[in-house]
């Protein structure tokens, strides 16, 4: 009996056939993966090449694959929500399931899709763009990834073990407190985001150090490629913003597990404190996502316009300004909390001020294309689509910033339309543009352009159909997070349109998978190292990139060193090839990821013995690292020369 009682806590409080089907699917997939790895004898390969790797390119690819998986998880949530709302009084989902789904949709898309996607590009591109061999702390980088991965897996098992969080991705207290959220769902929220958040903070420190200390000779700050600049600013924001999240999540966790009263409404707790902390992290977070996206667009627009980036220094300064302002606007997420006209006026003005540096960037991209020679490739299509769509998202942001009017927009579908209008054309389009643009660099073949264009149009048309109607239903009084509405409200037709748009987007995302499959089968492998005729340093090395990136350290002339070497006779690589010092692989980051997962899971279910053992395990791993003597390894000149020869001549 006791045995059964112990396991009861892992049951789903609010099950449905779909959840049971998912359990079976997850079990079968896991068995399939294990069986496949065993049958093809790939365990050793997996361990040596991926689980223990500290190579920034492989870590980047693992981030990329995880982000794509999470995109489909979050997308499945999205399509279920739109299907439920497509018709009035629909019965597809009940209120509880709908609440769980929009909560996990938000968390998965922001924390476990968008974040790893930008980390993927930072990992893949930044060391190459600055001519470095790896990031500053390669093993810490692996730990960052495994913490993200542990957090993501922990969050994703919530719906089959113990129940998903259901208090919204903002998880406002007191709704998220034990009184109103009784299941372990919100514990998953607190612990899973905490674990991956610690990983993000480490990446922030790692990337800042890498960019500040490891640039190739001649690369002054103002000669850094724009993506590196954007990654640098984003990581500075991470270093300042994520500690706030860490602390808020600890307070939320202790409120739920140890009955502290930080955010409760009695015993001196204050529910609004959570909202403030959440958005002091949460607003900078949106710039953490959008700035690297801006960086990617800058690279792509410049390449396919065959022109240098217009207004380089104003691009840099506008990002610095945005990063500062991003910490001064958080109360605009709750103008309606009753803080009065003066506070609202101040935050209304700071919020609108962000429009100025953002506008400068839009004009700079336009003028980069001016007098250019524009090629309509798939990455460029996303970048061109981004400009008008993101402008609409941006100006609706200015509308929301008018605090008196925000009393009418707040908590409505207008707001939902606005932030999807910035995140999808802003971040998601950038990620897909970057994916297509950098695919050949890391996988050695191009993605099919025709299928890519179909994807672009499906996503663009789907996006417009899915989200523009929400501006109208919002102004018509449709609150967000409502699981149903009556026919009398008149929201029906526009919500149906949204559903059709969402379905088009879903088809669009599936065509990406098909494109990868099709291109893998059919694309030429003979593409050289610079298939797009690009401009910045990452294209100067071989494809696929050797583990040491550059056989000889490049000499930097400008932010477009590679273009200079192609057109203006700049000599990139001088001197003799020398022995290269590289870091050793390590299994510790992966093992620490597992320990964090177990400890996190134990905390979620208040299983104190494994929780404490897990915490001790984490510190043991850290202590072991302190005493470990690992001086890395050296790649001999002979070996480098052989590799270079194999890749088509020394560089």
């Amino acid at each position: 009996m006791e045995f059964l009682e112990f396991f009861e806590r892992f049951a789903i409080p609010h099950p449905s056939p779909a959840i049971y089907a998912s359990m079976v699917a997850i079990a079968l997939t896991s068995i399939g993966i294990v069986a496949g790895l065993t049958y093809f004898k790939k365990w050793g390969y997996l361990w040596r090449e991926w689980l223990t790797t500290v190579d920034h390119k492989k870590i980047g690819i693992m981030y990329l694959v995880s982000a794509l998986l999470m995109l489909f998880r979050g997308g499945a949530d999205a399509i279920m929500m739109r299907a439920q709302l497509a018709t009035p009084d629909a019965k597809l989902l009940d209120a509880q399931h709908y609440n769980e789904i929009f909560t996990t949709h938000g968390v998965v898309m922001i924390i476990f899709m968008a974040m790893p996607f930008i980390f993927a590009f930072m990992n893949l591109i930044v060391p190459l763009q600055i001519g470095a061999r790896d990031v500053a702390f390669p093993r810490l980088n692996a730990l960052s990834f495994w913490l993200f991965f542990a957090g993501a897996m922990l969050f994703n098992i919530s719906f089959v073990v113990g129940g998903s969080p259901d208090a919204g991705w903002t998880s406002y207290f007191p709704l998220a407190g034990n009184d109103f959220s009784e299941s372990v769902g919100t514990n998953y929220y607190m612990l899973a985001i905490q674990i991956s958040g610690i990983g993000s903070l480490m990446t922030g420190i790692n990337m800042c150090t890498t960019i500040l200390k490891m640039r190739a000779p001649g690369m002054t700050l103002m000669k850094m490629p724009m993506f590196t600049w954007s990654a640098f600013i984003a990581n500075v924001i991470i270093v300042f913003a994520f500690p706030v999240l860490t602390v808020a999540l600890i307070m939320g966790t202790t409120d739920r597990l140890f009955a502290t009263n930080f955010f409760t409404t009695e015993s001196g707790g204050m529910d609004m404190l959570w909202a403030n902390f959440f958005w002091i992290w949460g607003h900078p977070e949106v710039y953490i996502l959008i700035l690297p996206a801006f960086g990617l667009y800058s690279e792509i627009i410049s390449t396919f316009s065959r022109r240098n980036l217009y207004g380089y220094s104003s691009m840099v300064w506008s990002m610095i300004l945005i990063s500062l302002l991003s910490f001064l606007v958080w109360t605009h997420h709750f103008f309606t909390m009753g803080q009065g006209a003066l506070t609202n006026s101040i935050f209304s003005i700071t919020t609108m001020a962000i429009a100025v540096p953002t506008g400068v960037k839009i004009f700079n991209w336009l003028f980069t294309m001016w007098k250019g020679k524009i090629r309509f490739t798939v990455p460029m299509l996303y970048s061109i689509g981004f400009i008008p769509l993101f402008t609409i998202g941006g100006v609706t942001g200015v509308m929301l910033a008018m605090s008196a009017a925000d009393y009418q927009y707040h908590n409505t579908m207008f707001l939902v339309a606005h932030f999807h209008n910035t995140i999808i054309p802003g971040v998601v389009f950038a990620m897909l543009a970057g994916l297509t643009y950098y695919w050949p660099k890391f996988f050695g073949f191009m993605l099919n352009e025709k299928i890519g264009k179909v994807t672009f149009w499906l996503l663009t048309v789907g996006f417009v159909l899915a989200f523009f109607p929400m501006y109208l239903t919002g102004l018509d009084g449709q609150a967000r997070r409502m699981y149903t509405y009556s026919e009398a409200t008149g929201f029906g037709p526009l919500n149906m349109l949204s559903f059709i748009g969402a379905a088009l987007m879903a088809i669009g995302f599936v065509t990406i998978v098909y494109n990868v499959y099709y291109s893998f089968k059919n694309s030429s492998r003979d593409i050289g190292s610079d298939p797009w005729d690009a401009r910045s340093l990452e294209w100067a090395t071989h494809t696929p990139v050797p583990e040491y990136n550059f056989a000889r350290t490049p000499q930097i002339s400008s932010s477009e060193t590679f273009w200079d070497s192609k057109k203006n006779g700049h000599v990139l690589f001088k001197g003799e090839i020398e022995e290269i010092h590289m870091p050793n692989n390590s299994g510790v980051p992966f093992i620490m990821g597992i320990i964090f997962f177990i400890a996190g899971f134990s905390f979620i279910f208040a299983l104190w013995v494994p929780a404490v053992i897990g915490l001790i395990g984490i510190f043991v791993c850290m202590a072991m690292r302190s005493f470990e003597k690992d001086h890395g390894r050296h790649i001999s000149v002979k070996e480098i020369k052989e590799t270079e020869e194999k890749l088509g001549g020394a560089k």
Binding site: A167, R306, M352
Partner: protein, 306 residues
């Protein structure tokens, strides 16, 4: 590319046709606060449309003029660093727009946070609106009436809503009378509204508060002062008094229809005014309750300070 723009514009047109059958609630104001907000919204939509159109026209022109297929093979684009005057325009014009909108925004903030314009000389009607999972309780302390899930208000009179919650944060919203404000369990917020026209309006909780959130709505009926007085008298004649026990059962999570009582729950379960800096003492609570009706206007902006 032109195909794309025709497609986008035709889709926008379709959306507006589909929505165009009736005016959107927020843009169909029936009171001074909602009207101010609707005006701000229309003003910003106008200015923002100009910006979007300008960006689209520049983009379309550049894409058309500088596409590779239109240029000779040997055309090599120039290296252009930037131009001081272009940058001054690109920064200056947005600053002017933002400055103007900031001016409007600040002015509107003070307007929506005080007694509605044109009603300053009238004594406002104070209504305590409190939410519990997933209902609204409306207490009329002056009239000694309490209703559940419906609200009767007189037209042409300023109304001062005192908002708080018996549970999660909710948001009190009557789109046609004015924007929303949060109701929280440890403090009272104030929302100033007024209705210019008699009629029935939709009211709801706009802030997600759990399972019953979607149905957390209430009806608002605005009527002339004479009709309103008649209703007050009728309630006093017909409704039964609200007891503490009865109120406790009303607070249980769930949904209720519309209900009417004489007396208010404020008598035994007062609003959490100054909950954060007050010694909990029964007498002071009571005196507070009474003095509150006179002093309400001073308190409206200091809720975050506790």
């Amino acid at each position: 590319m032109r195909k794309k723009w025709t497609l986008l514009t035709s889709m926008m047109a379709l959306v507006f046709v589909l929505a165009g059958c009736e005016p959107l609630l927020v843009l169909d104001p029936k009171g001074p606060q909602a009207e101010r907000q609707a005006n701000d919204i229309m003003l910003s939509i106008g200015i923002m449309s100009v910006i979007v159109i300008v960006v689209m026209v520049i983009l379309a022109y550049i894409l058309f003029k500088y596409r590779a297929s239109k240029q000779p093979d040997d055309y090599e684009p120039p290296h252009i660093h930037g131009n001081k005057w272009v940058e001054i325009v690109c920064v200056g014009v947005p600053i002017l727009i933002v400055a103007y909108l900031s001016f409007v925004s600040v002015k509107s903030n003070y307007i929506v946070e005080s007694t509605p314009e044109g009603y300053e000389n009238q004594e406002p009607l104070v209504i305590y609106a409190s939410s519990s999972d997933w209902k609204w309780h409306f207490s009329y302390p002056e009239e000694g009436i309490e209703t559940v899930n419906y609200l009767y208000i007189p037209t042409d009179r300023p109304i001062e809503f005192k908002l708080y919650s018996y549970g999660p944060i909710t948001s009190f919203w009557i789109p046609q009378l004015g924007g929303q404000k949060y109701a929280m369990s440890d403090m009272v917020t104030t929302l100033h509204l007024a209705a210019d026209e008699a009629g029935e309006y939709m009211g709801r909780n706009a802030n997600f508060s759990g399972k019953g959130f979607a149905e957390n709505t209430f009806n608002v009926t605005a009527m002339s002062q004479a009709d309103y007085d008649e209703w007050v008298d009728e309630v006093h004649d017909t409704a039964k008094p609200l007891t503490e026990d009865e109120f406790e059962t009303l607070l249980e999570p769930g949904h209720l229809g519309q209900m009417t009582f004489t007396g208010t729950h404020l008598e035994f379960s007062p609003a959490p005014e100054h909950a954060h800096n007050e010694v909990s003492d029964e007498d002071s609570d009571e005196s507070h309750e009474h003095s509150n009706h006179e002093n309400h206007t001073e308190e409206e902006t200091d809720h975050s300070g506790h």
